[in-house]
Symmetry: C2
């Protein structure tokens, strides 16, 4: 057996900021060196940020990535960090002849080993995910090389993200040819409870590969995706050795005791058991084990409970969207209801109260408690607030056009949306929308009204979860509860006409939400929904609402994703569509 101290750099790069990410590479490599690590690994596509989407089809972007890689290797050496081998994800190209259907430039989701000022080896992701939020058959061509390098006597193999999720490919090949450690670079987005799935997966693949697996993941928000970190190391028998925290940057350092490598240097082609052949490339960096040393105890960070996990995902997703897009502050409408109260609280936790601006926009239908509850939240959290009454503006519209029913209700929501957008344009705040997933799914919102804005922190949060998160947040120390209790307990109303209640238009949320979960997240059809115990009439009604609301959802701002299937890129339905579940 031989010892190895590995450092996993669970980091938060910015898509497109190749220069900044390269700086971060040097900084975190230095931290790893200061911890006397023998090897440091960065996540998937670290140099470019992930996912860079159609940027990978621009040759200028690919060239910037590959140049930055070479420069980073030299820079590390120049900074005295060249002796520490670095595994890092970046964007490369395969140099294939163009053909129909092959992404322009044949890009690769690549990994490189940097050592002593040089790029020692390059490989690329073998399995390309093309489901859910992933479009990688659009972007990449397949890698078919598996590097295994001997470092201090240990054989270290490298794979990337999806290579772990699918059968066959690099894991199968490692199982066949043998290695002491498989380092996997990941860009694995958060979903509720995914940490459990991930640990189980790593354990299973470690047993299959017959070696320790070190799994390093991104952390941070990127549009609708939130990367949760949760980097971890499992033993060949699947036992958890080390684990980083969720939703925060961390250098996870662990001392591993690994078998000494025995494979011969050189190349060998191996059946990857997925219909392809992978070329294993073995070479040696250092054959001798390190002198024995006293290992440090490995850290196994505690898991957050389920609500804390969701809340942190929303906070991180909101913070990164705002700051990575160059905004310093946000603005939102505060109605006194629970959705805007929770959204404001998330914004304060993400950015601090001084960067959060609330606008109270009472109309002739606003109840007294709405204003009181909104003012109470402003007071408790110390955010900025102004009041802009909308009655005069409503009257000016009513003088020019005659509106009734829903059209008149929508007008109020749109006046509020315009005021927020106007103040955003005037002062440079990003507008946060406050709609939740239950509203959004059923179309219970106004296009260009409450849906107007740049980011939607709770767009993937069902209403019943909104209440649970509010209660959870109020129970957290330190300090008094940030959300007025009345905002949590009162009956939901849009207050767009006298005495309006959400239940005038929607089923009660405790009935609606489980049905939405089954229809939206699980893609069940009508018969399946009824078989699952949902009321047949309600199924018909809700399917009709959800399918009709498709257009509104397409126009909705992005927001942190916390469920496996939401709308937009996760669930693409044609707008022009007469499928009967839509018209039921």
């Amino acid at each position: 057996m031989a010892q190895l101290r590995i450092a996993l750099a669970q980091t938060n790069p910015v898509v497109g900021d190749i220069t900044g990410n390269a700086e971060m590479l040097v900084e975190w490599t230095r931290r790893a060196a200061e911890r006397n690590a023998h090897l440091v690994a960065f996540p998937e596509m670290f140099l470019t940020g992930y996912p860079p989407e159609d940027l990978v089809l621009r040759s200028s972007f690919v060239e910037a990535s590959t140049s930055a890689l070479t420069a980073a290797a030299e820079r590390l050496a120049a900074e005295g960090l060249g002796d520490l081998p670095v595994i890092v994800g970046y964007l490369d190209r395969a140099g294939l002849t163009p053909r129909v259907g092959q992404p322009k430039g044949a890009p690769l989701d690549a990994a490189a080993l940097l050592h002593r000022g040089r790029v020692i080896t390059k490989s690329a992701k073998h399995h390309l995910p093309n489901y859910g939020v992933f479009d990688e058959h659009r972007y990449f061509v397949r890698g078919d090389r598996l590097p295994i390098f001997r470092l201090h006597g240990i054989d270290v193999a490298v794979a990337i993200c999806e290579d772990l999720w699918q059968d066959g490919g690099p894991v199968s090949v490692v199982g066949e040819v043998g290695a002491g450690l498989l380092v996997v670079l990941n860009g694995s987005p958060y979903e509720m409870n995914k940490d459990d799935v991930r640990l189980e997966l790593c354990a299973r693949r470690a047993r299959e590969a017959g070696c320790t697996i070190a799994y390093v993941n991104l952390v941070g928000g990127q549009d609708e995706l939130v990367f949760d970190g949760d980097s971890l190391i499992v033993s060949p028998t699947g036992e958890l050795i080390a684990r980083a925290a969720q939703f925060t940057e961390e250098l996870l350092v662990a001392d591993l005791d690994l078998p000494e490598g025995t494979g011969e240097p050189g190349e060998v082609r191996v059946d990857a058991r997925d219909g392809t052949v992978i070329t294993v490339e073995r070479f040696t960096i250092s054959a001798e084990p390190v002198a024995p040393y006293e290992p440090e105890p490995a850290r196994i960070a505690e898991r957050l409970d389920d609500l804390a996990e969701v809340y942190q995902a929303l906070v991180l997703g909101t913070r990164d969207y705002v700051t990575k897009n160059g905004f310093r502050s946000v603005i939102l409408g505060l109605s006194g209801g629970i959705d805007s109260a929770l959204t404001a609280t998330i914004a304060v936790d993400a950015l601090g109260p001084s960067r959060v601006h609330a606008v109270l926009m009472p109309s002739r239908y606003s109840s007294e408690h709405s204003i009181i509850d909104a003012e109470e939240l402003v007071r408790r959290q110390g955010i900025n607030a102004v009041t802009v009454p909308i009655t005069g503006i409503m009257e000016a519209f009513e003088k020019e056009i005659s509106l009734h029913g829903l059209a008149a209700e929508n007008l109020q929501a749109r006046i509020r949306g315009m005021i927020l957008m106007s103040l955003s344009n005037e002062h440079g705040h990003l507008v946060l929308t406050t709609g939740n997933k239950s509203e959004l799914a059923t179309g219970y919102s106004t296009l260009y009204g409450d849906s107007a804005g740049g980011f939607a922190p709770i767009k993937d949060v069902l209403k019943t979860m909104v209440w649970r998160l509010a209660e959870w947040r109020n129970a957290q120390p330190p300090g008094p509860p940030p959300i007025p209790e009345n905002s949590i307990t009162k009956e939901p109303s849009a207050e767009l006409r006298p005495g309006q209640r959400d239940t005038d238009s929607l089923p009660p949320y405790h009935v609606l939400d489980p049905l939405l979960r089954d229809y939206v997240e699980r893609d069940m059809g009508r018969d399946e929904l009824i078989a699952a115990g949902h009321d047949p009439e309600l199924v018909t009604r809700v399917i009709r609402m959800v399918d009709r609301a498709e257009y509104k959802r397409r126009q909705y701002p992005p927001g942190p994703k916390i469920t496996p299937k939401n709308f937009g890129r996760d669930r693409r339905l044609p707008l022009t569509n007469r499928w009967r579940e839509r018209l039921a």
Copy 2:
């Protein structure tokens, strides 16, 4: 040699309307029978409409498709049409064991042969496109069967759309095993000049397959896609034999003289020269050639010229979006400028003047000619119009919030957007937006202002093309020019402040548009753009504008697509993105 009269049903099904599409199948099969055709072919995914996107992941939808197929075969026989063989595209499933990355239910983009009340054979698309507007690795698994059936002595093979575009696969196999006719079912969307590419492709593949190719395409609008029809037949040497019109339904009937088949019935596995193996399934429907008859001369429809082609695509895309979504009428703001004038004209050509409602919304900055030109268009085309002045509403806002510069300009655009949306809600018209691609690309538009609406007829039309289309349309007989000449010739202005001109914010359109074409449609980076002859400073400025406008474009309504690369699904860029071409 043996004779065969083939009918290609260039038709316009509706996505999801399986019942309606099955009715259309019977109706067009009857027409083919009345023309004494020996074989009739319908386009790709005809029964479900195309592309059905994530509907294919619902088992209820797949089951509806396969049941409808069986029922259609029986129905055709019951209607006395059973003797005419029908090839039709539909949705099926492969029945594979679920695994990570495989689309749920393993759907197939399938083709079936219906004859005498039964489904005789089934096959599925082999090559799955996953570029541009296509996401088929997300939706389908690959087919690996090639049916070749003998009909009146002729061997007829069946393939689907992308099978023609990529090397290897069904075409290669037909070339190897031999057939007299290859029928290809297509869902091939329109792009400018694609008809030339398509003819050249069919000719090349016919030579490769060594047989006649009959290419049947969809026609009609589906969200942003417009299928242009253009069904055609080419001889084994690549000569054009018959061709249907563009942008209209048509039964293309042609008498072919084809070699008699010699292959033995049964199954044989053939290397498809793309790394896969395809099973050829040969069987006989009727071995005897038909009695010799006098062939009818084949129709070769004339091609539209380039501007006519684009204009028809816009009209068809607009008409089908409106009517397939159940709207009866549209509403739009009429400013007196060329964009709203062209949009109104397209709407009138799509729907007729009585279904088009214009709103004139003058502000304190509107010039006199704007109102005159708008009124003149209303008069010439006989559309409905109302005038809603916005000055009073502007003043009501100004009383409550203080706005300057861009924020004040945006307010006016948003008031107009709200008025249109309010009237849409009140009266049930679909709002058409009037923005062109040059504005949209550079962000020269107001989010929730002029971008508010349900459909954007000219969103993929650069400003210089807007002018050319207006002049072209004005030159068409019969009747006087629909667009006031002054709307075409005057200098473009948003009229949101006194004396404003587009060139205050944008380069002249004759300079801007070629640059947009290279940057947006060809994905060139900065260095390539400069090398292509664009002014370096302008390149920097325009790249910055285009990259910054990404969020607005995401929020923009769909509109007919006429170029190979536009925004959204064609060109996906992260919103959170610090790539230097963005920040240049």
